[in-house]
């Protein structure tokens, strides 16, 4: 009796199994329309409010799509009008008057006007603000509504990149009634409204009908979260997704390059990948040691080995695509003999031991192994310590408990961090601070250029950090798709110009 029920249960299980498989096949795939797109992202954002968190993943979904600021940054890093159609700047560079677009509505139907601008800025400037870029707002003296379509902002002092900074995701305009819930139900003025978030799986956006501005070609966008590089490769090849703006497996690019169905889009980012050095910890406080390291680093091997050839060598903390860039790569040319000489002069003829802490990205993990192998040639023996981001923030960034680390600084134009002696590099130089103060206050282009050159040269000569390469943006897309950003001057995936070829 037991046997019969046993046999039966196996039969039932098998039948269920077979039927479900047949049924699954019978159902055709989700029907995809020509104005829909599925993009892959590696990291899922913790929430969707770009004004309350620093995770790039947030901006990668909502920037320019769901939320807009007074200005916006275009693909080349230039400032463009957005919610502010035009502006005037006073002669003393302190007073800005912004003329706002009229007829704009938030996704919940309420009208957009100057009150929302004042609210958004005051919220970011407030005592209990959780904005990650308070620096953008701390130089603001006052934000004042002049009339429903005009806002005046007065700064405490002239600030060269003010217009650029308010075009970033941290300064988008939100609505008082809905701001608290933006983390889970973002309400903005952008051409796409948030539809839903299947946690751990995907986020869906759809084009709004009431958008005041250029109509968008893509009507529905799904962001799918794929963290495993192998799965990303499979998903692209199987056409389960249409594109991966930052493809996590540069090693496999050749597969896509050779395949006519795909388009590989390589561009630049604002990510200066550096061998960050603790300038207050021996022996790295000795400039001779830092110079020796600079002479030993072989950037090409690192770019090839860690990034499979994608990346541009840099000699200082500045992005090569920036118009004020100057090439400092050869400040310390590759010269092992010179390096050993310098080390001996510093008191380490036999080299020394140190540690290098590596966060998760492959530029760090792989890059770290390569650098360790290179430094061993001059006698520096590095112990590799793999840590995750939480630990990195705690140990390296907050407690400055490290010798060396590798990280990519993706904030645009962030050379100013070197003027802060408390920043984790612990570089304390009053001459450099003076340069930065001057740069912040200069608004004309020629002046800024000259100061930028000087700043880059300064950092390179002092070998404050090991300057490795500028992170490349490696995107893989369906060949029929166009309008994607090749570069990433700010974090974001601007869907507004994307379109399928007929």
């Amino acid at each position: 009796m037991f046997i019969h029920s046993f046999k039966k249960s196996i039969l039932i299980a098998l039948t269920f199994f077979i039927f479900s498989i047949i049924g699954a096949f019978a159902q055709s795939d989700e029907i995809k329309l020509a104005d829909e797109i599925k993009l892959g992202l590696v990291l899922e954002p913790p929430h969707l409010d770009p004004t309350a968190g620093a995770a790039a993943a947030i901006d990668e979904i909502v920037y320019a799509n769901v939320f807009e600021g007074l200005t916006r940054i275009d693909e080349n890093g230039a400032v463009q009008p957005s919610l502010a159609t035009s502006w005037t700047i006073s002669d003393d560079n302190i007073n800005y008057i912004f003329n706002l677009k009229s007829g704009v509505t938030f996704h919940d139907g309420s009208a957009f006007n100057a009150d929302d601008v004042v609210y958004s800025f005051e919220r970011a400037m407030g005592e209990d603000s959780v904005n990650a870029q308070k620096g953008i707002f701390s130089i603001i003296e006052e934000v004042r509504k002049i009339d429903p379509v005009t806002v005046a902002i007065q700064l405490k002092q002239p600030t060269g990149d003010f217009l650029f900074n308010i075009g970033r995701g941290d300064a988008v305009i939100v609505e008082k009634a809905t701001a608290e819930n933006n983390k889970t139900n973002p309400i903005g003025t952008g051409p796409y409204r948030f539809v839903k978030w299947d946690k751990g799986s995907r986020i869906i956006l759809e084009a709004t009908i009431n958008y005041v501005g250029e109509p968008v070609a893509i009507k529905k966008a799904t962001f799918v979260f794929i963290s495993d590089p192998n799965t990303a490769i499979a998903a692209m090849l199987a056409r389960d997704i249409d594109g991966f703006p930052i493809f996590p497996a540069p090693e496999s690019m050749e597969v896509f390059k050779k395949d006519a169905r795909f388009n590989v889009l390589i561009g630049t980012t604002e990510g200066e990948t550096i061998l960050a050095t603790n300038n207050k910890k021996a022996p790295f406080d000795n400039i001779l040691v830092r110079q020796a390291i600079a002479h030993t680093i072989d950037r090409k091997a690192i770019i090839d080995g860690a990034m499979f050839g994608y990346g541009t060598p840099i000699g200082s903390h500045f992005a090569p695509h920036n118009p004020h860039y100057i090439d400092k790569v050869n400040t310390y040319p590759h010269d092992l003999e010179k390096a050993k000489e310098l080390l001996a002069k510093a008191g380490f003829p036999e080299g020394f031991k140190a540690t290098i802490k590596l966060p998760p990205p492959s530029y760090a993990r792989r890059g770290g192994q390569i650098i360790a192998s290179q430094l061993r040639e001059i006698g520096i023996d590095l112990e590799l310590i793999n840590i995750d981001w939480g630990q990195w923030l705690e140990d390296v960034f907050t407690n400055k408990d490290y010798d060396l680390t590798i990280v990519s600084h993706v904030e645009p134009f962030d050379i100013g961090i070197y003027a802060n002696p408390d920043y984790y590099f612990q570089f304390d130089n009053k001459d450099f601070k003076a340069i930065m103060e001057q740069l912040d206050a200069t608004t004309n282009d020629e002046g800024r250029r000259a100061l930028s050159y000087y700043a880059q040269d300064f950092l390179a000569r002092h070998a404050v950090n090991g300057y490795l390469f500028q992170l490349a943006k490696t995107g893989v897309y369906d060949a029929k798709l166009s309008g994607m950003w090749a570069n990433a001057p700010v974090e974001g995936n601007d869907l507004t110009k994307m379109v399928w070829a007929k």
Binding site: H47, A54, V130, K199, F225, T231
Partner: protein, 317 residues
């Protein structure tokens, strides 16, 4: 009999309590301030402290544990600070994928493993027996993430029959949801099926030597019939035990498989939550996993005792 059940259930509760204590304590020493993590490297000390206060990170440890555990008992797993929603609902959502996945995998493992084991036992000593066992050996030896990738390369990339991963919610299109679970379930089921086949075969072979089989034969049944009608029942006992043990491995396997197939399940949740230092989610999800595994073992234990009275007696020692 009743005291046996009560004993077991008390043991279950004790295990869960100790497990929750261990999980809470260990994760409390975790380096990394979740508030700073959420706000990023350029946020001010002020913002970070503000958020830390909001998140209640500054209370003494025993206070936090007690309040956490008490709320756990009433089903309140807390509010995730990074996502502003109840951890309980989050976990429930993810269970909608992990549970069907585990069950599906178990069903596949049983429906493939047991018949193969029986077949092999019937052909004991012949070439087909060795062949089937070699297959089972290989099945156990292949790492399941590798197998999963190979399945994807064949069925998704080359043949295009099945998706590479991802998941459509059940209420949207349940047939598509099933489709997304097929490859992951097979990847999970393979090692389980192989083990089940081997255990079934061994148990059946033993049983075939037993007295009551010979008695049945004496009564006129063929060896095969005797085994089918009387043997398999007894062979099920060790199989049942293994099933319980393997469940823990199955759950552990879902963590890896969910990663490979980007399924938004419980394992994936734990992973992401750890890297975001969202301890509330990690604790809640780990507890659920531990409860799940312990619960299954409790059920198996009780079932076993129902079938085999000897155990109930030994438990009373």
């Amino acid at each position: 009999m009743v005291s046996f059940f009560l004993q077991r259930i008390f043991g279950f509760i004790l295990t869960v309590f100790i497990a929750s204590l261990v999980i809470f304590l260990l994760l409390d020493i975790l380096p990394g301030n979740p508030a700073r993590f959420i706000l990023g490297i350029n946020a001010s000390e002020q913002s970070v402290n503000m958020l830390a206060e909001q998140m209640g990170l500054n209370q003494p440890i025993w206070q936090r544990f007690i309040s956490w555990f008490l709320r756990l008992l009433v089903g309140d797993f807390g509010i995730s600070h990074s996502q502003n929603i109840s951890v309980f609902s989050l976990i429930l959502e993810r269970l909608q994928i992990t549970l069907p996945l585990a069950i599906f995998a178990m069903v596949i493992a049983i429906s493939i493993g047991l018949p193969i084991g029986i077949m092999a036992a019937n052909r004991h000593g012949k070439i087909s027996d060795s062949f089937l066992m070699m297959l089972a050996q290989t099945g156990v030896a292949i790492p399941n993430f590798w197998f999963g990738m190979l399945l994807v390369l064949l069925f998704s990339v080359t043949l295009g029959w099945l998706p590479t991963g991802g998941f459509t919610p059940w209420n949207e299109n349940y047939l598509l949801s099933l489709k997304s679970l097929i490859l992951p379930s097979i990847a999970l089921a393979l090692p389980q099926a192989s083990i089940l086949a081997r255990v079934m075969r061994t148990a059946l072979i033993d049983v075939s030597h037993a007295d009551y089989i010979r008695t049945a034969q004496a009564k006129g049944l063929t060896k095969k019939q005797a085994i089918w009608r009387h043997g398999v029942q007894n062979a099920m006992l060790p199989v049942l035990t293994i099933l319980g043990l393997q469940f823990a491995f199955l759950i552990a396997g879902t963590i890896i498989v969910e990663n490979v197939f980007y399924l938004p399940g419980l394992g994936k949740l734990i992973f992401t939550a750890i890297s975001e230092r969202d301890l509330i989610i990690v604790r809640g999800a780990l507890i659920v996993l531990v409860i799940g595994v312990t619960f299954i073992m409790l059920i198996i234990d009780l079932l076993y005792a129902l079938i085999d009275p000897r155990l109930r007696l030994r438990g009373k020692q």
